[in-house]
Symmetry: C2
Subunit: 347 residues, 2 copies
Amino acid sequence: MTFRRKSRKVRVGSIYIGGDAPITVQTMPTSKTTNIKETVDIIKRCEEAGVDIVRLGMPDIESARAIKEIKRHVNVPIVADIHFDYKIALEAIKSGADKIRLNPGNIKEKWKVEEVVRACKDNGIPIRIGVNAGSIDRSKYPSPTPETLVDSAFGHVKILEDLGFFDIVISVKHNDVITMIEAYRMIAKMCDYPLHLGVTEAGTEFKSTIKSAIGIGTLLAEGIGDTIRVSLTGDSVKEVEIGIAILQQFGYKPTYVDIVSCPMCARADVNIIELTNKFEQLTKNMKKKVKVAIMGCVVNGPGESMDADIGVSCGKSGSVVYKGGKLYKRINNDEIIDTLIEELEKV
Amino acid sequence: MTFRRKSRKVRVGSIYIGGDAPITVQTMPTSKTTNIKETVDIIKRCEEAGVDIVRLGMPDIESARAIKEIKRHVNVPIVADIHFDYKIALEAIKSGADKIRLNPGNIKEKWKVEEVVRACKDNGIPIRIGVNAGSIDRSKYPSPTPETLVDSAFGHVKILEDLGFFDIVISVKHNDVITMIEAYRMIAKMCDYPLHLGVTEAGTEFKSTIKSAIGIGTLLAEGIGDTIRVSLTGDSVKEVEIGIAILQQFGYKPTYVDIVSCPMCARADVNIIELTNKFEQLTKNMKKKVKVAIMGCVVNGPGESMDADIGVSCGKSGSVVYKGGKLYKRINNDEIIDTLIEELEKV
């Protein structure tokens, strides 16, 4: 599980994607890029949530120009997302974009692609080829299967490689989790470019959380993936929080106050749901790498509590606190939260 | 991906686990089992959400007796969760439990295990051996690794096999997703008993959704798993909803109104977030197997809309509706929801 697919390393502003670089979390603001105030506000909230890279939609040349001003107010590298117009790409690069997302096959004239590639080379910025079920060339590929997604991606890659450009990141997204997993598995074997993972058009928060966790998680469990983006129809900050939580499960992002808590069943004599929610609320901004167990009975309680840094196993007539794997003290059930917080503060 | 590990089939009341049986979703009420009214209420809400099997905690003999009355009011098979006392197991079987969860190694005297096994045989009910990081025998296994979880499970299995009992389901749960995945991968190769998947003590809803989707999803993507339980510190219905949503991604549960919606970015001229949430709310109880795309721009909009049964690709001056893969009509942006609902009703 510690195995990670070997990929080429590319630089994106102050950070790297691929190779031995930490796996990064990306998002994309829901605002118009030209609405600089709103865009900066969203990026700042995402920075606070821990985002590593932010991508901005570039529907027009004004959006490309806005990058310059936006970059003055934020710290994360900025990716310009371009679709059809090479001039917007050139303008975005001039404005300081740290990476561009562009499928060169969408630009018909070769000299235009050459100009963009030259500008990328001159500025040392990479290009992500982002193939998406919704935007593959339907005249060539009637339906988006793993094979056609991968074939389409390599078509774009070839254009860049023929121009001597190799600072490439690839994504092959689909709204169907299984198709997405298969497409990435396939492309992972066929090249050493870093891969940007994501389930596209994944719907609203509930469904996207599940689709993204399965799709991105299954691939990470196989060592595939260098940067990730959770897509959801909702707040960009949620995308970041979910992305980080996915990476945490693999140890790719640190987990602070990590709560192990039981689902509460007939065996519990204490309201574990209330207790855990309250404790989670109180500690959610605490930046301490501590594992805390909150358990409702003697079946799994002592074991989980001993495996945690601090644990409490609740019973009818009182609770038992464990610390560092050892029985620490017995307390009343109305002292549980205070005791846990007190112990956390000592850490 | 359509490959599924071959497992033995066991019967649980009116349904089956393993073999070619559909993968089932389980949950466990948060109530005291002896609080029959509350327990029945929770089970009924879970049945409405689509649960297949419900497990009840059995901390005492009264809980075992309560099964009889509870079963009068609900339709799903009931599993009795027993830990140390063979008498509770016998009483639960007498009360009509459709399956018991019991680790025979926890019962010291052999004759007591024999009695329970005889009662299971006589009543044709299976036993789940549920090994849990928190409850493995610490005198034998100092820490819960994939190896010790699996070894512990086989210790219990051996006791049953020696008594000629093979109607076994196994789980090897851990709160760490990676350890859990490894443990199930290991045990999947070593036997043909059906596997009950779950990440244990997974915390509150947000984290449990991610942990369960990754853990259970990664294994399902490898063909491993016959029944699943999402554990979360919160409402049992949520466990069912998440479990079903995980299975839907693999086609193991039907997906009704399946919404493919973009995350909305600078390219969108219509508020896709508002639109999608409203549409999702209006259609959440509709039992029609339809894929609907709600997309914010011309980059991915037409492609996704054509791949859906009904799709809308929104633009600044109006939107384009697609039906069955073909352009259907152009509408104003204030007609989007009404048009989609109207088309859905025709299906």
